[in-house]
Point group: C2
Chain length 209, copies 2
């Protein structure tokens, strides 16, 4: 067996512990070689039937970035208006995206109509195509963090409006907007926990049947 | 910064290259300490709003395992009948699950109605809860592979029938059936590629906008 050392396994655990969703980025550029190496983790991800349904757009056009930021702000304002009292006060203090600062921003879609893989594994669960894209994002996230980069996944967006603004094919479903760059700070504690919004559980419950 | 060495980054890349969806398992038991260490990767996964919507059942009851295997066989027969000619012939030769052999089998659900996280980040994209569960499965997969374990994600299942057979709450959505055990063999090449079903792409295309 081509094995992995105990040191590697322990560092992989440390990476997962330290990953974080990053929303506070420095504005200095990410070098292209580092970024390309991390993006390779998308290509290596599992995909249902080897369908590789991920479609990755790198958004550089200032007008498109502004449209996405406006989209986020509208969705975030709407979300805030759904909370009352202390929850609303806390929500208003949260920084939930680095879209105004992150030097690299990726819009990641799933091509729901790809022929690749001939539909294998997606007959009863067609959502497996989107799940494959999520697996790819997760692998990218880990690879980027291992390189010291920060990644933030923004989901407070109207996906239909974003798809229109980016003029993507009708069968592409938004899976993730990713902000990528060097993080301002590091922490083992999720930012939502630091802000008093929600706590991470201390243990995983597994029910045996 | 609490960094990760170039050796670690290179081994992480090697892990992703070597991961595979495993469908051929030895039947010897997995030791509980190793399994528990790998399952910790689920707890450490990113989740929208820290909602931690993953619900993990470990299926040991032979009758429940048989019901799931029957479910797979029915869905797989139906899938086969949707292919013609060469595709059908190739499909019939594929081994698409290790459910008859894998010593550990997990049914992983998403609790769509969890209060945890108070809905943060899931207003416009409620599917983010399922995506959080997919991220957890992906992290478990990598941790298990790093420990030498094989993982196979079975999606050729009728999810409603499985939910009924397992008698889970109505708001739980099936995300994955996972087979876990020691793999019979290792390969860098996806089994579907070896079987001539589909090829992995050589490069990732990223469109700049």
């Amino acid at each position: 067996m081509q094995g992995f050392s105990p040191d590697f396994q322990s560092d992989l655990d440390r990476l997962m512990r330290w990953r974080r969703d990053v929303r506070r980025f420095r504005t200095d550029a990410v070098d292209e070689a580092t970024l390309a190496r991390c993006l390779e983790a998308i290509r290596l991800a599992p995909s249902v039937g080897l369908s590789e349904p991920w479609r990755v757009l790198r958004i550089e056009d200032p007008a498109l970035r502004q449209a996405a930021l406006d989209n986020f702000r509208a969705a975030n304002d709407a979300a805030l208006s759904g909370y009352d009292g202390d929850r609303a006060q806390t929500y208003a203090t949260l920084k939930l995206s680095g879209m105004a600062e992150a030097p690299v921003q990726l819009a990641v879609f799933c091509d729901e109509s790809t022929d690749k893989g001939a539909g294998l594994g997606a007959g009863t669960m067609p959502e497996m195509r989107r799940y494959s894209v999520v697996a790819a994002v997760t692998q990218f996230w880990l690879a980027a963090r291992a390189a010291g980069l920060g990644v933030g996944w923004v989901s407070i967006l109207d996906p239909d409006r974003l798809a229109r603004d980016l003029n993507v094919p009708p069968d592409w479903a938004l899976v993730a907007w990713l902000c990528v760059g060097w993080p301002e700070a590091e922490s083992e504690t999720p930012e939502l926990q630091q802000a008093g919004w929600e706590d991470r559980s201390d243990s995983l419950h597994i029910e045996v049947r």
